[in-house]
């Protein structure tokens, strides 16, 4: 892994960004949750937003989604809706909604009034279900799906409206390692195929590492952003976390481990 010389670029100049935050600050009930946060996500880019619990990841998302006003700074975001996959979605098994219906709600679920089914919409939903590999369980109730299956359906729900920006809050939180890797691979593929800008948060970035183009690192409300090579280094991460963190390479895979007890055999 190339060790860049400590330059922590905030916003790359002259980039065609799908999302750009500049000097964003947010205070919630007197406490500074975000302090001068700047980063950008370009189309076709897969960006991980990493940080410990309480570092402000969800706050960043709420600002990006327009659910929370930024106290200072500017936010440039797509005018059309943003594809969003929230954290820890739990749906009751009795909810009478097939995976297919949830994807359909992704087209125009926010509109008032009812709409009769049409062939074009059905085809669009079908195409999206195939794209995320959810065909096998498209007719199952959403509440009965496994964590990985539900993530695929939620991604289809988020993307069927053809947004330019996809935001996923802790998509790997409830997944086992295999499902987690599959979801990350899926999002990376869709990002490149569809020219999406994808922003995923995680507190454990190991699963994101092989696919991440850029990293936004949050700690204590401040952000450092850069290419993976610039940020994923033992010294940079340890300083951010204020805790010993080591970046190891094992059989060609980069791993991040924390704590003093780490030993490499």
């Amino acid at each position: 892994m190339s060790a860049a010389t400590g330059t922590r670029t905030g916003v790359p100049p002259n980039a065609e960004a799908a999302l750009r935050l500049e000097g964003v600050s947010v205070a919630l009930s007197g406490r500074r949750v975000l302090d001068d946060v700047s980063f950008a996500v370009e189309r076709g880019e897969f960006v991980g937003i990493i940080g410990a619990n309480g570092a402000g990841k969800t706050t960043v998302f709420r600002v990006v989604l327009g659910l929370l006003p930024a106290g200072g700074g500017t936010v440039e975001r797509p005018r059309r809706h943003i594809g969003y996959v929230p954290q820890k979605v739990a749906i009751d098994p009795d909810t009478p909604l097939r995976a297919r219906d949830l994807v359909t709600l992704g087209i125009d679920g926010e509109r008032f009034g009812i709409r009769l089914p049409s062939r074009a919409r059905r085809a669009r939903v079908e195409e999206m279900i195939e794209a995320v590999g959810a065909g096998r369980f498209a007719d199952a109730r959403v509440g009965t799906l496994s964590g990985g299956e539900l993530q695929r359906v939620l991604i289809a729900h988020a993307l069927v409206g053809e947004p330019t920006l996809l935001i996923m809050d802790e998509p790997l939180a409830n997944l086992d390692i295999k499902s987690g890797h599959e979801i990350v691979e899926l999002v990376a593929r869709l990002t490149h195929e569809r020219g999406l800008a994808a922003l995923l948060s995680a507190h454990d970035m190991n699963a994101l590492l092989p696919h991440m183009d850029r990293v936004v690192y949050l700690a204590d409300g401040r952000a450092v952003s850069g290419t993976t090579g610039e940020v994923v280094r033992s010294d940079v991460l340890s300083e951010l976390y204020r805790y010993p963190v080591r970046v190891l390479e094992v059989d060609g895979t980069v791993l991040i481990v924390g704590g003093h007890e780490v030993r490499v055999r």
Partner: protein, 285 residues
């Protein structure tokens, strides 16, 4: 005694019951999906206040139910009765106080008319005694309710699945929830006309609960719930009519008893097999 199909009160009962069964089936599905059965129950209890007040003012109990139901539903949403802590406090304080006032009004009803009719009508319904004029009123309210539901349907469904998902798409989640609860208030006032305030949640939630066991899509569940409600209501009317020949007093059993009993049996009929199946399934939860 005239025949079943020649009886005026039977016509009124069948028509009022049909309107109510359809509206409460459709609305009830979303009540259950949103986990607002408790709100429906509270609205029924509070409807007692409106019904007994209307009796005292000598207007149709329907308007008492609707007036109190819509206002209280709005207040409940504003004070956040959905949140568990708020719910506990509201149950203890507000529902208790409202039922206390209802007790007073029912007492006054009884003393002013010197019959126990008001209490039975408000609490348990007396569909055979409903006035023919209430049918078009109920049908109008029901139609209004269904149109309102059609308007908010998709944003409501989306915010029922996940409120944040909906608000990220620009759905005014709180306004939609507020509007829906007012709609539940109106629906409960219809069911209160049929089975009384105490049993009204059974007709709102019961058929919907049956429907959710057997259907995987909201529109299908709504049709099934309306069908179960309609079957229960009409069968209840027929049995109540027949019960005028039954012991002990040959004065007829209450319609509400039959309706609620049929809904309960229907629920057991769909619930028990699925429970047994789940228990038999290897490693099933």
């Amino acid at each position: 005694m005239t025949g079943f199909f020649q009886s005026g009160p039977v016509h009124v009962a069948l028509a009022a019951g049909a309107v109510t069964a359809v509206v409460s089936g459709v609305v009830g599905v979303l009540v259950v999906v949103r986990g607002q059965s408790f709100a429906g129950h509270a609205l029924g209890d509070l409807g007692t206040l409106g019904g007994s007040g209307a009796f005292l003012a000598q207007v149709s109990p329907l308007w008492g139910f609707v007036g109190v139901g819509a206002v209280v539903a709005g207040a409940m949403e504003l004070f956040g009765v959905q949140r568990r802590r708020g719910r506990d406090v509201a149950t203890g304080v507000v529902l208790g106080a409202a039922l206390g006032v209802s007790a007073l009004l029912l007492y006054l009803d009884t003393t002013s008319t010197s019959t126990a009719g008001a209490t039975v009508t408000v609490l348990f319904g007396s569909l055979f005694a409903a006035s023919p004029a209430s049918v078009p009123e109920m049908a109008g309210l029901g139609a209004l309710g269904l149109v309102a539901l059609a308007v908010v349907y998709r944003p409501l469904l989306l915010s029922s699945v996940h409120p944040e998902l909906a608000s990220a798409r620009g759905v005014p989640v709180r306004s939609v929830a507020f509007g829906f609860l007012v709609l539940v208030g109106v629906t409960v006032s219809l069911t209160s006309m049929v089975v009384g305030t105490i049993l009204s949640p059974a007709l709102l939630v019961g058929p919907a609960a049956c429907a959710l066991r057997v259907s995987r899509r909201p529109p299908v569940a709504m049709v099934v719930a309306a069908g179960v409600g309609l079957a229960a209501t009409w069968a209840g009317v027929a049995l109540a009519y027949a019960s005028y020949r039954w012991p002990p007093s040959h004065s007829g059993w209450p319609i509400s008893f039959f309706i609620v009993a049929i809904v309960f049996v229907a629920f057991l009929a769909v619930e028990l097999p699925s429970r047994i199946r789940r228990r038999r399934a290897p490693g099933g939860a």
